[in-house]
């Protein structure tokens, strides 16, 4: 009998727990440890942030589902890792602290045979002075509560604009090393469309601010893509969209300080600049959770498990951009020291960024960190679950399921406006996610037939279909597993 502990119930942790439970006989125990009592479909936060969807529509409580499906659940947060146990506890364990109910504040040693760390990112607002969701007129849409606040802020501003106020709206990245440009891109297009629907577009100046060197980088070093019968670069496509919608842009900007209605940033020229705004939505930098790890004698072994995020089977040897290779990227998401520990989704430490690293003239690094969107987060979770299942069933380590982001496709369906007949979406797919310059030397490391962009109403329907399909899947309704990650 094996016990698998899954830390986190986001896209990755929940996918791993569901697949493990479906495929493993009941004598094996699957336990999820997560501080948030709800599952949330994060991609739809964009619509919560423009008031077109209630946050209740994107979440559901985990406890009843886990009870029904015989998945153990502890509403707690992992604090530290003991992969060898300690003097009193022979088995490896995670020290977790309950965050709710009678046990709130109590700590428990949760032992395991296999551990899946799917704790995603820490939203590191502290890394940018003054960037606090809902303060200084700056908002976030990274969680449903943040998105609710963002809508309150935007709604107030729209009302003021209806009374004749001219406004400046700033949307993008709130740190020199932020990632998730895709989410900010969706939000700026949705906000712009909402302003039109409320008939106040002419009262607003809408500006994109980002640590990207070029538009359309998205933390993926940009891409060459097919668009209709043409082949174009992603920056040309995004430029076309922004110009068409009268959205201005500031690039190579490392936002370092937020004051009430003012964003201060350094650009690649090394200049310190600032931009005023009446409403901003800025994505913070993502970091690891700062977990500590100890061996059985309680010596600190954090560096064996973490490098910010969790160390897995990637090649972390520092090397220049020109020498980066797809082979650097992990395939099984297994920790090399403790082979019963895995980290899918955003929780694993990437070997390096995907976008070319750039420094300002003052030496400040200003470039996007690598994104790990929902699709790869789900796929890597399933790979980890399948390898654990095989290992348990075969009685010996089995790592036949592999999936490198250098050999995996992803789709980014970016909403560009909500409405069954008036909505729009920018659908972009890339294959592979991490460019493979050896395989595809002439097309910027990607396969052109599988890397394409489309703009139109169908994109909105697609994003809406994904919303319903993935919530259905997450609720583990009949035949949920037929829906791919």
């Amino acid at each position: 009998m094996a016990k698998i502990v899954v830390l986190g119930a986001g896209i990755s942790g929940h996918a791993a727990a569901s697949h493990l439970r479906r495929k493993l006989p009941k004598e094996h125990e699957v336990v999820v440890v997560s501080p948030n009592s709800n599952y949330q479909w994060i991609p739809s936060n964009i619509w919560v942030g423009i008031g077109r969807m209630k946050s209740e529509k994107i979440l559901f409580p985990l406890a009843p589902l886990y009870k029904k499906k015989h998945i153990g659940y502890k509403q707690a947060k992992a604090v530290s890792f003991y992969p060898e146990g300690d003097q009193k506890e022979q088995k490896p364990y995670v020290l977790a602290e309950y965050v709710f109910g009678e046990q709130k504040g109590q700590q428990e040693k949760i032992t395991y045979d296999y551990l899946i760390n799917a704790t995603g990112p820490k939203l590191n607002f502290e890394a940018t002075e003054g960037l606090i969701p809902g303060k200084n007129k700056a908002y976030s849409v990274c969680t449903y509560t943040h998105a609710d606040h963002a809508w309150e802020g935007l709604k107030k501003l729209i009302e003021q604009m209806k009374q004749g106020k001219k406004a400046k709206i700033l949307i993008g990245t709130g740190h020199a090393k932020s990632t998730c440009q895709g989410a900010a891109f969706e939000y700026i297009l949705n906000v712009e469309e909402e302003l039109r629907k409320h008939k106040v577009r002419d009262m607003a100046e809408v500006t994109w601010i980002s640590n990207e060197y070029q538009l359309g980088d998205f933390g993926m070093d940009g891409m060459l893509l097919s668009y209709g019968s043409m082949t174009m670069k992603s920056h040309e496509m995004i430029e076309m969209i922004f110009e068409d919608r009268d959205i201005k842009w500031i690039l190579g900007a490392g936002v370092n300080k937020i004051e009430d209605g003012v964003a201060h940033y350094e650009n690649l020229e090394g200049e310190q600049k600032s931009e005023i705004y009446d409403f901003a939505m800025l994505i913070p930098s993502f970091s690891g959770h700062g977990f500590k790890a100890f061996d059985k004698n309680e010596n600190d072994i954090t560096e064996k498990l973490f490098k910010g995020f969790m160390i897995v089977d990637a090649n972390y040897t520092p090397k220049p951009y020109e020498e980066w290779s797809v082979q650097d990227w992990p395939e099984t998401y297994q920790n090399p020291t403790y082979k019963n520990i895995f980290a899918p989704g955003i929780a694993f430490a990437p070997p390096h960024s995907i976008s070319k690293p750039r420094k300002s003239k003052n030496g400040t690094e200003i470039f996007p960190a690598p994104p790990r969107t929902g699709m790869p987060s789900g796929i890597t979770a399933k790979i980890v679950a399948d390898n654990i299942i095989d290992t348990i069933k075969n009685g010996k380590e089995s790592l036949t399921h592999k999936g490198s982001m250098g050999n995996m496709g992803a789709a980014c369906i970016a909403s560009a406006g909500f409405g069954m007949t008036t909505g729009s979406g920018v659908s972009i797919t890339t294959y592979p996610i991490v460019p493979d310059y050896e395989k595809y030397p002439k097309t910027q490391g990607r396969q052109l037939s599988k890397t394409f962009g489309e703009i139109g109403l169908a994109g909105h329907w697609l994003k809406l279909s994904l919303h319903y399909a993935f919530i259905y899947k997450a609720k583990m309704r009949p035949f949920w597993w037929l829906i791919p990650e």
């Binding site: 068409d244 395939e331 294959y431 599988k450 994109g459 697609l462």
Partner: protein, 45 residues
Amino acid sequence: MTQRISKYQRFKMMNPIIQFFKYIYLSIKIMLIVAGGHGSTRKVN
């Protein structure tokens, strides 16, 4: 504002009938790319 998307292009982008077929086409294409498999890169070379 620079009109970068022509009226005809915009009509095609927003026409529900054209977009319905596009929706079917994109759903299949995306499914093939995403669910079409993933794997190792290390054994290739």
